[in-house]
């Protein structure tokens, strides 16, 4: 059984990225936890499988930080579920995270392909 610490480490490693992915997913509209996990999986072509052990703590943390707001609504499948949506602050945070991510990509690319830097 994975230990508590393992979960927390996972969260810390992925924290920045996972946050960004969640925020991006919600940019297209409010969604519930299961839906978010499905969306990420689908959009990443099955490459990213978000562990629920990371997902739900992340969702609650993002809500506490004020980037998401939640509401219990009835889904299109006539099921009551907790929907999360992006707040205005969340939108701003998403933009910030996106630019950070792009910078990171450039940096990593620069290291991996040093010739292209000339």
């Amino acid at each position: 059984m994975p230990s508590r610490n393992a979960y927390q480490n996972q969260i810390e490693l992925l924290q920045g990225t996972l946050d960004m992915l969640i925020l991006r997913t919600l940019q297209s509209g409010p969604e519930h936890g299961h839906g978010i996990s499905q969306a990420i999986r689908a959009n990443s072509r099955e490459l990213l499988k978000v562990e629920t052990g990371s997902l739900y703590p992340a969702l609650h943390r993002l809500e506490r930080q004020g980037w998401l707001a939640s509401e219990w609504k009835v889904s299109d499948k006539n099921q009551r579920a907790k929907f999360y949506r992006l707040t205005a602050a969340g939108k701003r945070q998403l933009t910030a995270e996106e630019s950070k991510w792009k910078l990171l990509l450039l940096a990593i690319a620069g290291v991996m392909n040093p010739e292209t830097n000339q």
């Binding site: 629920t52 052990g53 703590p57 943390r61």
Partner: protein
Amino acid sequence: MKWLRRQKEESLEEEIRVHLAMASQARIEQGESPDEATRSARREFGNELLIKEVTRDMWGWSALERFAQDLKYAFRQIRRSPGFAAVVVLTLALGLGAITAMFSIVNGVLLEPMRFPDPGRLYVAQTIVAPRFKATGPWPVNARHFSEWRTHGKSWGQIALVSGMSLTLTGSREPEQLSGFSVSYNFFRTLGVQPARGRDFLPEEELPGHSHVVILTDALWRTHFGADPAVIGRTISLSGEPNLVIGVMPPALRMPTGGEWGPGFGSAPVIFQPLGFDVSQSRAYGEYGWGSILRLKPGVQPQQAVTEMNALIADLVRQFHIESKPGMTPLEDQATSGVHSSLWLLLATLGAVLLIVCVNAGNLMLVRTSGRYREAGVRMALGAGRGQLFRIVMTEAIVLVAMGGSLGLFLAYWGLKSFVDAAPVSLPRLDEVHMDWRVLTFSFIAMLLATLLCGLVPAWRLSRIAPLESLKSSVANSELRQRLRVREAMVSVEVALSTVLLVVGALLMLSFLRVIHTDQGFEASRVITQDFSLIGPKYTDVRTRGFIGSALLELRSIPGVESASMADRVPLRGDGTTCGLRDPDHLIDPSHPDAASNFAGLASYRFVAPDYWKTMGIPLRSGRVLNLSDQNRKVAVVSQSIAEVLWPGQDPIGRHVMSCGSIKSTVLEVVGVAGGTRVSPEQAPPLMVYEPYWEVLRGGGSFVLRTRSDPAAVIGSLHKVLRSLDPDLPIAPATTMQQILDESVADRRFEMDLAVAFAVAALLLASLGIYGIVSFAVARRTPEIGIRIALGARPRQLMAMMIRQGMLPVMAGLAAGLGAALLIGQLLASQLFGISPRDPVTISLVTLLLLFVAVCACLVPARRALRIDPARALRSE
């Protein structure tokens, strides 16, 4: 809070349940069977409990929850050892409560600004007497000078004149004497207050003929006029004259009392009347009998105002050769000048006691935590962090201090109320003492400090343990020794603080004893004093003389009365009438006989009846006393000090001094020389001239009677005599000179009582600490002692060994304490009388006392060492 938490929990449960339902639904849609779908969905989800816990962490409440848990644990611990908790909570309550109460007093009297608008700009105008007259402080001002200041002054918005006076209220009730202020018309405007009902005084009401108007205080209005609004416009009889009531002051008005305005004022006023004379016509020199307050204009410095005051009376100064100069003090300082240092001293003393209480509590907590090392070891082995252990002990300290602190606040509130009601001392602004936000903040800070002091060391010790060590059944000797070291250090601190407090208390006690044993100049035993006042148009000079003369005759014939007399002011009641002392035969500047340059000094003048010296027990040094046959002559009796100043080495009888008349001074022949009497218990007797009472008739004075036996028995007859002479006379309660003497030293006695009480408390607490150490040391060294006994050590050797161990920290603390006491001795000097703050006798006595108590505290547990059975001692290892 709890249901909110539960709501969130339920929401999370629901959210996870929904997720699982959706996940299994998706699988079913993909063709799995319902059972398989549920199972694999759950498997994919992961450890539900763990996920819930991690998610809960995200809510950020864990800190709060941890604290709540620690609290529950702390309460459980306290319940388990109620005795320890009771001792700690009680001592903390006493310490914190006492210091909170003391701070409330300091706050109300010293720190809180006065209840007038913008009180920082209110100043008391004063007269700085020329240094050669050796006056004990600044004097009140002269009315004519005030007139110049008021008419032409630009540095102040308002300047007012005020003096204490009394009026007799007659009417439906018993005639009663009311304390009041005689004021210039703009007095209330200067303070920045106005009547709640009716109106303020008008300028013309200050002048003679128009001044029979009065303003009442709210309290007087309620007690004597039933809070009837129709009192405005009513005429009441005051001192035999009709007066119109024109206003009532608001209840919030707090008039500083007595000495807070300057010398010469009585108790708090209940009634206000305008001056009744034209200040611009009064005498420009000599009569410094008026208090004056002024309100500086914004931006004006006090120094500028004083310069202007000097300039405005420059002509008068030149004309009349005036030697004194105007000065100013802030009203707030003037009001509290007498008690400033005492209050801070007491607060500091209490701080020291509180420190000892906290150190003691900390020590007790340390003992307890020592017993919990094993438990702590187990906790650490199970995964608790050091931080958690630290937190647990601190939480316990917080709980104990919180309980002690709240109990202390309650004690402080209740104690303050009874203190203010009983008021054993004459503190200025005592009625403004209550617990406001400043006091509560101070109390909170004190509690915080107490928590740190109590909890820090035990918490730190507990968190530093090595888990493996603590789990062993016996505790290593080195560990015990370390624990002992810490406790010894704490006891040293306690002893040092106790030493300082004992020195302070001893010095104050010796000062007090010296004050009351000083020769006051008269015999206080078996003397009754009866104040009387003869005011109003009924009492002309003739009538007054007649009243006093008849009264004295009748009083002398009361059985039990040895002799009777009167004086305008009895000893220990202040300077009274003071004038420049002049010998008309030896003027320094004969061309200006009234000039101050001719004054050999300032003398207090008393107006007395014959037999005064016999009644008061004042020794006669030469010549004779005044008697009735002097009625046609101008004579006086002077004090020994005057004879030494004016005619050193010569016979003073037959020489002359000038009288202290306000209209015109007359030449008096000296017929006798008497001993000096004090006007306040700690000042040397002033120069004093005694004139016969019929020369200058004041509005009243005091009858003095020396009785053969118990003074109280005579009082009834005394009052009957006075009432028979004038039924409208208000009869004040009689006192004895002994009571007056006691009242004059009451403040000092109270301060001494408190300081000694604190010192004794500190000593007791320190001895408890010493006792604890030695007990602990005996317990620790039991095996060693067993061996020594087995090897033949004698009881005396063992006792000496244990006592030596206990006394070591005591000696360290004593040395530190004495050093500190010597250092801070200077700060104490202003409180002492007749004794130096480094008095070797006091310090030696305190040292001996402390050593004695410490040795006793060591003896009791040390004796236990003797009863150790060597066989058992060795076995219990």
